[in-house]
Amino acid sequence: MIELEQITKQYPGQAMPAVDKLYLSIPKGEICVLVGPSGCGKSTILRMINRMIEPTSGVVKINGQDVTSTNPDQLRMGIGYVIQQIGLLPHRTIAENIAIVPRLYKWPKEKIKQRVDELIVMMGLDLEKTRGKYPSQLSGGQMQRVGVARAMAVDPPIMLMDEPFGAVDPIARTHLQDELLRLQKEIKKTIVFVTHDINEAIKMGDRIAIFNAGQLVQFGTPEEILTNPINEFVEDFIGRDRVVKKLNLYLAEDAMQPIKCLLREDELQNVAQKMKDAGAEVAFLVNETGKASGQISAGDVAEFGMDIEGLRKRARRRSNAFVQTTTPFPDALSLLLEYDADYLGVLKGEELCGVLSFQGIRKHVYRKEGE
């Protein structure tokens, strides 16, 4: 756990303190995102945790211990640090770059090599091709992977990341974000993550701290912040599409309902009766192999009546109108709009396990909004 107590940072020659009497407690094992417009003091706060900057007054504690009780170099060796510009040593190979902190800890050579290889693979880089390369031979996205690997080399419990994905292209950024989230599920580090991008904050943060002009404006989970922005500044910062952004927080399984009507493709002629019996608004078809292959809604039945071929065609057109349980709402909504459908089948792997409706999404968001 990281605690900032009454932290103030006053730069000489500046009227306003960069950080003003801040109290912030960052829970263990979570990603805490510090977000705000440029110059709000978020980077300064991050850099005070590993003593790259010393506060003018106040105490930073890690697991209850004042950071100034440790020699700064020792302290930093135990905290992963990733910056936007990465700062790989250009004259060292990728393997040597990752090995920097293990070498500071004087690990035996064999252990270092093993760990470096492990990290290169973990970061999704080609081990044989990457190990001996120099940073200038990598792309921006690959370099930042190495940057993250380097910070994780000695498996530090805390990682500080200062706009780590700010300089890579949008596609690589999404990949890096997804991978960090996937890794975090396993490694459960305490990560302090600075960004100026509210969307990145919502995506990455277990908790978000919004700053403005050296002050902490709001601190809470993404859901809390999106649901109850504390003031106009936060509202503006989040943007007018606040509720649409909130959709990112929910997955298909959150609003999934049980399937009421399921039939084989050769039972299509009975679809009207079956749906009526089950009281279902939508029926899903499965093919001979048991795989979900399409859907028929009550509207389709009314439209086609006994025209079984027409129904079959309609069902097939929606053969891809399925999402996974872990699909976020925005992607599901996109599919609903794409297929002009009211329902989507929800799959867990290959297995059909529920139905997600347009209405269900609306209700789920509305209920959360009302909380």
Binding site: M52, D73, Y81, G87, V101, Q137
Partner: protein, 218 residues
Amino acid sequence: MTLTDFVNFLVKNSKTIMEYSENHFTLVLLAVGISLLIWVPVGLLLTKSDKWAARVLALANTIFCIPSLSMFAILVTIPMFGLGRKSALLALVLYAMMPLIRSVYDGVKNVDRNVIEAARGMGMSTKRILVEILVPLGMPIIFAGFRITVVMTTGIAAIATYIGERNLGRFIQEGLVRSNTPMMVTGALIISIIAIGLDTILGMIEKRIVPKGLRVSR
């Protein structure tokens, strides 16, 4: 002058040529060695303070502007130094100040700040950062300055003959006075060969010493 005259001069005076070359070499080596010992640490120190860097670099520039003949003349008048090696050495070391300090300072200052920031953030000590990052990354610029220093020192050392150094400059000086063309050419040629030779050798060393990662491209 015919080629025979020249060859005759070389053969007849081979002992003197050897002696002068040796003297020339020793003076250059000593001067460069002392310069490195003094100016490299000074250059490194200056990277810590912009204020002092500006002052010292200005001083080095001023010294560098003094014509070598004037410099030797001035030093000779100082009783502690007088005619001879001491004055010659001091002058050469003073001339080396500008290129060496400047290149060390520029080399280190040119290192990407983000690399230093990242290294510091990982817990590398100041000393380690200096040895493992600043010096190797500054090496291309530092070494360029070093090469210039060596070549320049070889040239200026010849002028020290006017204050009593018995080196290759003497052939040129006496050759001029006596209108002895073979003598003049011998001095001029050997000094040039030494300068070019040293520069070539240093060029080869530079290739080995500049970190590989700075040379590879995508």
